[in-house]
């Protein structure tokens, strides 16, 4: 618990308020994300030598790191949550790699879409999309393609790929499945404490 939470009326009254800040230590990361179980992609030794974002993008072995990085930045721009680390966005992007390997139409949609976005970025800002300096500049490019099939595909998939990822739920205060914990009958279904007394 940090000081802000201790000072909040909710915390004083005992209402459970979840920590929703970016957590940096490995221990806190694992605790906050629930990612202690198997199935998490681990970084290669080589990957650790690269900046974090490049290392994540390099996980796309089929589509390649450059496309991975573009999709990652694009995903962040579509549903920006400053407090949430790249890794969670990458978890929504990463399935494209295997799918694109099996689905040539999808691979083409992504490759062509990224190429177009990069071409627009170079024309306007002299740099690929992922390196365009400000969010405002990148959004000006996304607005130009938002009705196209590529943008619609990425955005549509993000709705479930990102928000339906159980690992991000704690960062939003979504506590997930409760029946195995006995529901909330003894765990705060009626613990609201900030309403004036009736």
């Amino acid at each position: 618990m940090n000081d802000d939470l201790h000072q909040s009326p909710a915390a004083q009254e005992g209402m459970r308020v979840l920590e929703k800040r970016v957590t940096v230590s490995r221990r806190a990361f694992l605790k906050g994300s629930g990612l202690t179980a198997a199935g998490v992609t681990t970084l290669s030794v080589g990957g650790l030598m690269l900046p974090a974002r490049d290392a994540l993008a390099a996980e796309l072995t089929h589509l390649g790191a450059a496309i991975g990085k573009t999709l990652l930045v694009m995903a962040r721009d579509i549903f920006p949550h400053d407090k949430i680390a790249d890794r969670y966005y990458m978890q929504a992007i990463e399935p494209y790699d295997a799918k694109a390997a099996e689905d040539p139409a999808l691979a083409k949609l992504i490759r062509d879409g990224v190429a177009q976005l990069d071409a627009m970025a170079k024309a306007s800002f002299n740099t690929p999309y992922a390196d365009v300096g400000t969010e405002t500049q990148r959004l000006s490019l996304l607005y130009a393609i938002e009705h196209g099939a590529f943008f619609q595909k990425i955005k549509g998939d993000m709705v479930t790929g990102f928000y339906n990822n159980k690992a991000v739920w704690p960062l939003f205060g979504e506590e997930g499945s409760s029946w195995e914990k006995g529901g909330y009958i003894n765990r705060g279904f009626d613990d609201i404490d900030w309403l004036p007394k009736a």
Binding site: P9, A10, M15, V17, L18, K20, D77, I78, F79, P80, H81, K83, L139, E146, K155, V159, T160, Y163, N164, W169, F172, G173, E174, E175, G176, S177, S178, W179, G182, G183, Y184, I185, R187, G188, F189, D190, D191, I192, D193, W194, L195, P196, A198
Partner: protein, 524 residues
């Protein structure tokens, strides 16, 4: 003690569908010694299959066979192949329903008399009154265990955070009629446990505290030795003899093999899209426009409630999903008061969403900080669903696609819906009132959502006094074919402002009494 009936046994009542209508009818008929065969299109899920997971359960139990949204409503863009959010499986949509068990008001049975002629609408009085249905509402509330009702004797559902925040705002802006009649046990009842405030009620109640025919009416009917349940049995057509009497139904099993089950009486309870679709698909040389369709009203007058939804960001945490899914329900706006600029009324229903559905429904197609900044406050959110009267219009309909066929070779249904101007005015009023209510609590932001696919489908085989105005009489018996009944929400003449399940159950109890009596008297 499940029974098996021969397919040539023409003494049975065949019930098509096992949801609120069909499941209740099976229970009530077998209780009176009538033999029934229940044909259910979907699988037989059990509580083992239920997960506290919105998308997983959506994929598992929804009716996802292709349908087409048409007409002037926004679903043609936002949900082009999901006009309605209902269930395919034993128990039907009682697996998914929110549990809110509201009665119609008296005037909602007499809309034509109350509203007068409404231009552009096809409004009609029901052939029954509130007083005629009231005793059956009582039985339904007792059967279903509706918390806080005299009939059930069960205590009210204890308020959760979401209830409290809505109730507080409602009282501050002067609302007084704040209710929560929900069919979930507040103490062990009818062999089912008490609600543990788990949430995820619309994903199938994991412990069976919320009423569903899946684990109350259907097993009870089976125990009598008078019922056989055949899941994964999709009825393709209803057969009739030369005199026009229904003789049986043709259905496909899970492997696609076709069977003919003979019947003394056929009851259709496949929900307001499938029921008229089946009658239309049963067209014959004797009935070229479909069964029971001499009025031309089969598939017409499709109503799904005038709905809207909004998410409110409150000044403090709410965790709206903790506890029963239905929070406070404001009924003050239900009475008919044309001074508001529209006919009929609506409920403001607190209805919790989890993060995945909040993200999906809040602004379909939306993106950017407008969306993400709101979702960052998910734990502070409350959520309303406006449930208001939808006026019958003939053009709002279920029709058959001219060329596209389903896996059984049958034309797929087209669901056509266009708002009446009354709907738009009501929706605006409801959202404005919710905003006031939210601001009274200190809300910092209210996000109006477009209506998401409704689970309430009504009116496509409506009841009418005269055969020319509708499809069934006051017993749900088709005007044209004596031994053919409609037993689901498609009987509704008006939609009212109430969630339909309680009324479907009350009508099914009443219909069972009629059918059993008529069979004894040899009228059927």
């Amino acid at each position: 003690m499940s029974k098996t009936f021969s397919k040539d046994d023409n003494s049975v009542v065949v019930i098509i569908g096992s949801g609120a209508g069909g499941g209740t009818l099976a229970d009530e008929l077998t209780r009176q010694g009538v033999d029934v065969v229940i044909l259910e299109a979907g699988k037989h899920h059990t509580q083992e299959d239920f997960e506290n997971d919105e998308w997983a359960m959506f994929a598992k139990i929804s009716w996802l066979d292709k349908r087409i949204s048409a007409g002037g409503w926004h679903h043609t863009e936002t949900y082009p192949n999901l006009p309605a959010w209902i269930v395919k499986g034993v128990g039907g949509s009682t697996m998914h329903w929110s549990g809110l068990a509201l009665r119609f008001m008296a005037h909602e049975f007499k809309t034509r008399s109350t509203y007068g002629h409404v231009p552009g609408a096809n409004v009609l009085d029901w052939p029954i009154s509130y007083d005629e249905l009231a005793p059956y509402y009582e039985i339904a509330e007792r059967k279903m265990g509706v918390a806080g009702t005299k009939a059930s004797g069960l205590p009210p559902m204890p308020p959760n955070n979401h209830y409290r925040v809505i109730e507080h705002g409602a009282r501050k802006i002067g609302y007084k009629d704040i209710v929560r009649p929900v069919a979930s046990n507040t103490r062990p009842h009818d062999g089912r446990p008490a609600c543990q405030q788990i949430g995820y009620c619309m994903q199938g109640c994991k412990i069976g505290a919320k009423w569903s025919t899946l684990y109350s009416e259907i097993p009870r009917a089976m125990k009598t030795g008078h019922a056989e349940l055949r899941p994964q049995s999709m009825v393709l057509r209803i057969e009739h003899d030369k005199s026009g009497k229904a003789t049986g139904v043709l259905y496909a099993d899970k492997d696609g093999n076709q069977h003919l089950q003979k019947a003394r009486v056929v009851c259709v309870a496949g929900n307001s899209i499938e029921s008229p679709r089946l009658l239309l698909n049963s067209a014959s040389s004797l009935f070229p426009n479909g069964l029971a369709n001499s009025s031309g009203q089969v598939g017409r007058n499709y109503m799904n409630h005038t709905t809207a939804a909004a998410l409110t960001i409150n000044p403090g945490p709410v965790y709206m999903y903790r506890g029963f899914d239905i929070a406070a329900v404001v009924s003050d706006e239900v009475p008919n008061n044309p001074d508001r600029g529209f006919l009929g009324g609506y409920h403001l229903e607190g209805l919790a969403l989890h993060l995945p559905f909040a993200a999906a429904f809040m602004k379909p197609g939306g993106w950017g900080r407008e969306v993400s900044s709101a979702l960052e406050k998910f734990d502070h959110m409350s959520c309303v669903w406006v449930c208001g009267e939808d006026l019958a219009q003939e053009e709002n309909s279920i029709t058959l696609h001219p060329t596209e066929r389903d896996q059984h070779g049958l034309p797929i249904p087209i669901v056509t819906k266009t708002d009446h101007t009354n709907d738009a005015a009501m929706r605006r009023h409801g959202l404005a009132q919710w905003r006031k209510l939210s601001e009274a609590v200190g809300a910092t932001r209210v996000i109006d959502m477009p209506p998401y696919p409704a689970s309430h489908n009504m009116g496509t085989n409506r009841m009418s006094e005269k055969a020319r105005d509708g499809v069934v009489n006051k017993w749900g018996q088709t005007h044209d074919i004596k031994n053919l009944f409609v037993s689901d929400g498609s009987q509704f003449t008006s939609s009212g402002a109430a969630n339909p399940t309680l009324t479907i159950v009350a009508l099914a109890i009443r219909q069972a009494e009629y059918i059993a009596g008529a069979m004894k008297r040899r009228e059927l």
